[in-house]
């Protein structure tokens, strides 16, 4: 009787074990596939956008980061299925993370080298910080909403990006102890470029700020600090939209 039961149960156990072991792996694969598709999409879009951004293709390392960082760990549980769709997603508290294409473009515009010191204003769910950390940047990130800061901290820790330094504070004054920075990325709305942030940027450094509202990035503002300390800004449409006067001559 007992043996019989055992004989009956063993395959069941094995099946169950297999099932449990299999699920994460399968999900991992599915996510990896989705990520690959997402990266392909971003690459195609970037090629088409080249005229406006002045960059024929995005930095291969940025694309590698987009292909490796698990975005599904940085979205809300209900949106995991949408994590690799090329669209912005809500992360709670009235905040969103940008669509992957915009994240890639903004990261690319920072022109990072490994070891660069980067400041992020607006940690959010932590996805952008994870991308920066993956690229080997010494990443500092500030979040103003306490609950979101906690969520970002947890997401980054769970995904293994413990090296990101986090702070819950007002981003306007930057992170003076860690300044100057090679790059600054502002992922929150700003009515003007905070003077303290310009001061904390190294000569030759770059700052990127998206302009728009939730779910809608209008354009990107790139602030470049010249070697002599002078500042030049560029406004970049994330799409190819020239010439403005269409018609036959425009093509």
């Amino acid at each position: 009787m007992r043996a019989c039961l055992q004989a009956f149960l063993t395959p069941l156990f094995a099946a169950a074990l297999l099932l449990f072991a299999d699920t994460p792996a399968a999900a991992q694969d599915a996510n990896a596939d989705a990520r690959r598709r997402m990266v392909r999409e971003i690459a195609e879009m970037a090629a088409e956008t080249a005229v406006e951004t002045g960059r024929p293709r995005l930095d291969a390392r940025v694309m590698a980061a987009m292909g490796q960082v698990p975005r599904h760990r940085f979205v809300q549980p209900g949106d995991v299925g949408q994590a690799y769709a090329n669209r912005p997603l809500p992360i709670g508290h009235g905040q969103t993370i940008s669509q992957p294409y915009i994240v890639a473009l903004m990261t690319d515009l920072l022109a990072l080298k490994p070891g660069d010191k980067v400041l992020e204003i607006g940690t959010g769910s932590g996805y952008q910080a994870a991308i920066l950390a993956y690229l080997g940047a010494q990443t500092h990130s500030i979040e103003i909403i306490p609950a979101l800061a906690e969520q970002g901290r947890k997401n980054l820790a769970d995904a293994g990006y413990r090296q990101v330094r986090l702070r819950t504070a007002d981003g306007y004054y930057g992170w003076p102890e860690a300044a100057p920075f090679d790059a600054i990325i502002v992922t929150a709305a700003a009515s003007h470029v905070p003077p303290p942030l310009v001061q904390q940027l190294k000569p030759g450094g770059r700052m990127v700020i998206p302009v728009g509202t939730a779910f809608l990035t209008q354009h990107l503002l790139l602030v470049q600090k010249q070697a002599d300390g002078g500042v030049i800004t560029r406004q970049i449409l994330p799409v190819r939209f020239v010439p403005l006067t269409g018609g036959p001559k425009g093509g």
Partner: protein
């Protein structure tokens, strides 16, 4: 017992109940726009309410299909419907809040459309239940249609005024409960106040009206500016005011101070002083700057693009339009303006800044040399006799709404060719008009504004408008200067120095070399300079025709400055949507078109449905005539009403009081017209013909005469202008009140089964007409809308003369 049954068969029409219910339903509609503006954004409110209003048509369908049983139990059915209106008015709004449709995500997330559908269904219920009761009354007492319609529409007129009064006295959620209470009171009146169940209804109404403040709460979307701000640590609401013009929330944030200084120069060394954030319907912030009388902390104001005119003029006399929290007044004080006249439409804003916030704000409106005027900007300028060296219009609407391109369907009389002309007329010789707007990419707002300024200058006989213009920009804001004299070389030198010191870009000044454009804030191309050069050159028309956005200047007849949409560009926008191009699209116009299509499809379905459901009971003969007559009346009535609300708004100034006075005027006089029509001894055909001729004649005459009349009387005090307006509306509205009830009365005599169907047709047509009128005005202008309405009335009268 037998007595009660006899009473239940009572045959007197419930005039009072009809009036109360009609008033409550209209008030509910107005309230919903208010409530949705707070929890969402008003453009979507427009869409949702337009569709929900089809509940009116659905009621016609329902009554047409169930006419016999409903009529047999008229009093019960009326009471039950009105009761349901009262209850669902509150319940359904709370449900829509819970559904939490997020229009911002709709571009990305198709599931949002399911939610939108649910919102429609929810809101349909209160409108439909109210309308079932009203339609039943017409169906049951068709012979009394003129008096009944009189009560109906008079009630609506009183409701239009009443809801404004309610919103002045109560917060919007409380006002909602009060309106629901009126619905229950209508039910009680219909049942008969001597009956016990009526007491129960009245008691329920009293409970609703006196419910505690926090019994029901508004739940704004998480993506509203205010909701987002309140998530930030240390923020707290310092003051709140609510009124018919909007709910104001003042937020204090000691931990993370507000530093609203859009487009502040990158060369600015210092940050703005402490501010409070002012939110209107949850959108903002508009800053209230801490001011002690010491000008030094205000230095940041000189680092904004709209400080420019102060560098070209010496201690000007300033007129600030849209003064809001007082920042533009501080700008003037900082630059030692000789005098400041500040115009603000919302008295609550000024009262807040001067009263509860006085210690913080330093009472900018009470400083020596400053005068504040509570008025709408355009009307104030039109009625003013003053002369100014500088008229300043700086960022009067919030960034969020214009960024999403959703304001397209909102008319604005601030930025039309005529408006700019009126501003120029008020300038002293050498005076400057300075308008500051948000930068959008690709540029449209400022380009269209420049085109408007050029048209206004040319309209005033200026041969070389380019000599009168200058345009500068930061990355966030652009300021357009329009001078009524050519800019002098000295002024141009100061303009260039101003921009150089602040790293602002010059986009136009007379004689500007091309290489000076696009230096500090580099765009892919010098879009703004190229646009100005094209607009001022011989190729203007070609440029405007080929530009990817609509940049034809807005006029008073087509006052849609924010309408930038062009069909030609749609395929490209849609293709680029996911490629980061979602902001290229201008969403307001397509949303309006979608609303029209939805309303038209549902409306037609509702009209056809009774033919299927109650086909046998409806006579075959005369269907086409009934359909044509009542649809034309629905369309034409709304066209006239909407077009003239627009005209009178310009004259009356205040948007809200204008709408209330004109709407109430139309409804009340139409109600009187309806009663008059019932008493006239003439043949109904003669009355309808005479009415149609009167409407067409008066409306066309007004088109030609009103501009002159308004111009001549612009200086009258408010009460005088309201009286003149009502006097002008009276003949038009009296005539407009006649054709509809006479049509119903005739049906009551000849084919009573048609009444609910006819009523429903009229309702559906009115809903479609409201959306259609806006769309037509965008394309053809309000003049065309009025002409079409006149034709509609004439055609309807011709149909009425046909023998069935």
């Amino acid at each position: 017992m037998r007595g009660e049954a006899g009473w239940l068969r009572d045959t007197r029409p419930p005039y009072l109940a009809v009036g109360l219910l009609s008033g409550a339903a209209l008030a509910y509609e107005v309230l919903l726009t208010r409530l949705f503006a707070i929890i969402q954004w008003h453009h979507f409110a427009y869409m949702m309410i337009s569709v929900a209003m089809l509940g009116w048509g659905a009621a016609g369908t329902l009554v047409a299909s169930l006419r016999a049983p409903l009529q047999r139990h008229f009093r019960l059915a009326f009471t039950a419907s009105a009761t349901l209106f009262g209850l669902s008015a509150v319940a359904c709004f709370l449900l829509t809040q819970a559904i939490a449709f997020n229009p911002l995500a709709a571009v990305w997330d198709p599931r949002q459309f399911l939610r939108l559908g649910l919102v429609y269904l929810c809101l349909l219920i209160p409108f439909m239940t109210a309308a079932v009761a009203l339609c039943l009354a017409f169906s049951r007492f068709g012979g009394d249609a003129p008096r009944l319609y009189g009560a109906d529409i008079l009630g609506a007129g009183v409701g239009a005024l009443g809801v404004i009064a309610l919103l002045m006295a109560l917060p919007p959620m409380h006002a909602l409960l009060a309106v629901a209470a009126v619905g229950l009171a209508a039910a009680a009146t219909a049942y008969g106040l001597r009956q016990r169940p009526a007491w129960g209804l009245l008691a329920a109404a009293a409970v609703l009206a006196l419910a505690p403040a926090d019994w029901v709460q508004l739940r704004p979307l998480a993506y509203k500016d205010l909701t987002q701000t309140l998530r930030i640590m240390g923020t707290r609401v310092a003051a709140e005011r609510s009124g018919p013009l909007g709910s104001i929330t003042v937020v204090e944030s000691p931990g993370v101070p507000f530093r609203h200084a859009p487009g502040l120069s990158l060369a600015a060394a210092r940050e703005p002083p402490v501010q409070l954030g002012l939110y209107i319907d949850g959108d903002g912030p508009m800053p209230v700057v801490r001011y002690t009388g010491d000008p030094e902390p205000l230095a940041y104001l000189d680092g904004l693009t709209w400080a420019l005119p102060y560098h070209l003029l010496d201690r000007p006399r300033v007129l600030v339009l849209g003064a809001g929290g007082g920042e533009a007044v501080l700008q003037a004080l900082y630059h030692r303006a000789r005098s400041v006249d500040a115009v603000e439409v919302n008295p609550q804003l000024v009262n807040l800044v001067e009263g509860p916030l006085a210690d913080f704000s330093g009472r900018p409106y009470s400083r020596p040399g400053v005068r504040v005027h509570i008025a709408e900007a355009r009307a104030f300028v039109a009625g003013s006799r003053g002369r100014y060296d500088l008229i300043q219009l700086a960022l009067v609407d919030a960034f969020g709404a214009s960024a999403a391109g959703l304001t397209a369907l909102a008319e604005s009389y601030l930025y039309t060719v005529e408006a700019l002309g009126v501003y120029l007329d008020r300038l002293a010789p050498g005076g400057i008009l300075a308008i500051t707007r948000w930068i959008d990419l690709p540029p449209r707002d400022l380009v269209k504004l420049a085109a408007t300024a050029i048209a206004a200058l040319e309209g005033r006989g200026v041969a070389d408008p380019g000599a009168h213009l200058a345009l500068i920009r930061s990355w966030k804001t652009g300021t357009l200067l329009v001078s009524n004299a050519p800019l002098t070389p000295a002024q141009i030198e100061r303009l260039r120095a101003f921009c150089r010191e602040r790293a602002f870009d010059v986009a136009w000044y007379p004689g500007m070399p091309a290489e000076e454009a696009n230096r500090y804030n580099q765009l892919a191309q010098p879009y703004f300079y190229e646009a100005l050069r094209a607009l001022l050159g011989p190729q203007r028309q070609d440029f405007v025709a080929r530009y990817k956005y609509r940049i034809t200047p807005a006029t008073d007849d087509r006052p849609f400055h924010f309408h930038f949409f062009r069909w030609q560009s749609l395929p490209e926008w849609l293709r680029l949507r996911e490629r980061g191009g979602v902001s290229l699209m201008e969403w307001g116009y397509p949303v309006l078109v979608a609303t029209l299509i939805q309303a038209a499809v549902i409306g037609v379905a509702l009209i056809l449905l009774p033919l299927v459901l109650a086909g046998k009971r409806l006579p075959r003969r005369g269907r086409g005539t009934v359909l044509g007559y009542f649809a034309l009346l629905g369309l034409a009535f709304m066209f006239v009403e909407i077009a003239f609300i627009q005209r009178f708004m310009l004259f009356l100034g205040h948007p809200l009081y204008a709408v209330a006075a004109v709407l109430a005027g139309f409804l009340i006089f139409a109600g009187l017209g309806s009663r008059l029509a019932g008493r006239l001894a003439w043949d109904a055909r003669r009355i309808v013909t005479a009415a149609a001729l009167t409407i067409a004649g008066v409306a066309l005459a007004y088109l030609m005469l009103l501009p002159q009349v308004f111009h001549a009387l612009a200086g009258l005090p408010d009460a005088g202008r309201v009286a003149v307006s009502l006097l002008l509306i009276a003949p038009l509205a009296l005539a407009m009140g006649m054709p509809f009830p006479l049509g119903l009365k005739r049906l009551a005599d000849e084919a009573p089964a048609f009444i609910p169907w006819a009523w429903g047709i009229n309702a559906c047509a009115s809903v479609v007409a409201a959306v259609l009128a806006t769309l037509l005005a965008m394309h053809l202008g309000f003049t065309a809308v009025v002409v079409l309405a006149g034709l509609g009335y004439l055609l309807a009268a011709a149909l009425f003369r046909l023998r069935r």
